[in-house]
Amino acid sequence: MENQSAHPLLSVKNLIVEYPPHSFFGRVKPVSRRAVDQVSFEVVKGETLALVGESGSGKTSITMAILGFVTPTGGKMEFDGVELNEMTIAKFRSRIQPIFQDAGAALNPQMKIGRAIGDGFPPGLPADQKRIRALELMKNAGLAENYYDAYPRQLSGGQKQRVCLARALAVGAGMLILDEPFSAQDISIQVQLMHLLRDLKAALGLTLLLISHDLTTVRLLADRILVMRAGKIIESGTIADIISRPQTDYARELIRQAGIKP
């Protein structure tokens, strides 16, 4: 349940994200597209909040706005009580880290795994310390020591996602934004990564914003769900509430399609 007294780690108020009329070989589309329309929500420290909705509903646009990859047209975002704008987002990168669907694309193909993780540590940390701490993070993420000197191409998709998790933790982030972190993986790997995420969250008290269209996995990981459609939040509540008493036809359809038994 939402704890009213707990102070939100991330708060988003009336967020609007619009993409400008784009030009395609000189043809300009007359209207801008509103991808996120007056969305407000809060993420409390230590909770896992899931954003659920079909492709194009605005889930990724919200994460891009929080991470500073797109500039919102309107609204206000606060992280730990400080307003997020272009200036402060760079500062907060050490506290919020993204995990993307395509782990392979998120890693530098020319950088060995050990360095990819080690570069996340604060500058000035001695090299031998970096190595020891990177190996420790790799162990926690379920990666064997011998991958320290491997290149990303030598790793499977699931292992690459583990590297991304270890790297985000090296930076010292207490909050992760995970955008479809499992959907590119085999189901057996999805299960492994879900276990890993659950264990890391419990051990480190991480706060998670999980973007997914897969209600079956969201249900196991999240405390609360926001259901999005066409840029708006149409329903929100605890997992149990939404699954047992969906308020909108869309949520009912999502539950039906996922084949979930309450």
Partner: protein
């Protein structure tokens, strides 16, 4: 299944010279007018198998075994999957292919309609519009005039299907057709494939991860593990009585997910 096979694969082996085999002892038939699903881990050879069926393996593999493909006029052709040229007259017209990432297969600077109508002699506009209607677009004119970037993932996938069906193939191979789609678009896509099959008697071979939709989307099921077929049969009976440990653990995970429980880790 009482239907005669339209495609049979006999003792297919595919290997890279000097390495472990990629596909070993592959034997199966596709009954005409049915949907067969293939499931298996990444790297177990599903995509290599799809390529072999189209003669698209390339020269670097050593291939043995053969593939027999039936045709409309009842003639069977037996082909060596290592010989790409012998598939020339079949690709697109007898066997169609639909990939996972349709947006990548569309030309970004050409309108959708142009890309479809170019497949027909004299760039037949009517035929293209008919195909768009066939794959379930209500406003065919709008899609015809659209550029690929204006389509959603589900729409792009249906355009890909229209392209794959343009040569009126009897067999359609779909490699992970819905992985990139959200759950609602995914179900719509499987429903569309089923509808097309009922209307035209299409035979479908579908590589998929999606166990949940298997029961409604497929008649037969092939389970692959490490380059071999470890289990195959009627979809319903394989799902109810899985024989191989891999199939069993997959179903266990699936069942746990449906019931809101944490599945055990595999391996």
């Amino acid at each position: 299944m009482s239907h005669p096979p339209i495609l049979s694969v006999n003792n297919l082996n595919v290997a890279l010279p000097g390495a472990r085999g990629i596909l070993s002892d592959i034997n199966f038939v596709l009954p005409a007018g049915s949907t067969t699903a293939i499931i298996g881990e990444s790297g177990c050879g599903k995509t290599t198998l799809c390529k072999a069926l189209l003669g698209l393996l390339g020269r670097k593999f050593s291939v043995s075994g053969n593939i027999t493909i039936g045709s409309r006029d009842g003639l069977n052709t037996t082909l060596n999957p290592g010989d790409s040229d012998s598939f020339c007259n079949l690709r697109g017209t007898q066997i169609g292919l639909l990939f996972q990432e349709t947006p990548l297969t569309l030309n970004p600077v050409l309108r959708v309609g142009r890309q479809i109508s170019d497949l027909f002699a004299s760039s037949d506009r009517r035929a293209a519009l008919q195909l768009l209607e066939l794959v379930g677009f209500p406003e065919t004119e709008r899609i015809y005039r659209a550029y690929p970037h204006e389509l959603s993932g589900g729409q792009a996938q249906r355009v890909g299907l229209a392209l794959a069906l343009a040569g009126r193939p009897e067999i359609l191979i779909v490699d992970e057709p819905a992985t990139a789609l959200d759950s609602i678009a995914r179900q719509d896509f499987f429903k569309l494939l089923r509808k097309l099959q009922i209307e035209s008697g299409l035979t479908i071979l579908m590589v998929t991860h999606d166990l949940h939709t298997l029961a409604v989307a497929a008649d037969r099921l092939i389970v692959m593990f490490a380059g071999r077929i470890v289990e195959q049969g009627d979809c319903q009976s394989v799902l109810e009585h899985p024989a191989h440990p891999y199939t069993r653990s997959l179903l266990q995970i699936e069942r746990a997910f449906r019931n809101g429980q944490w599945p055990e880790e595999m391996h």
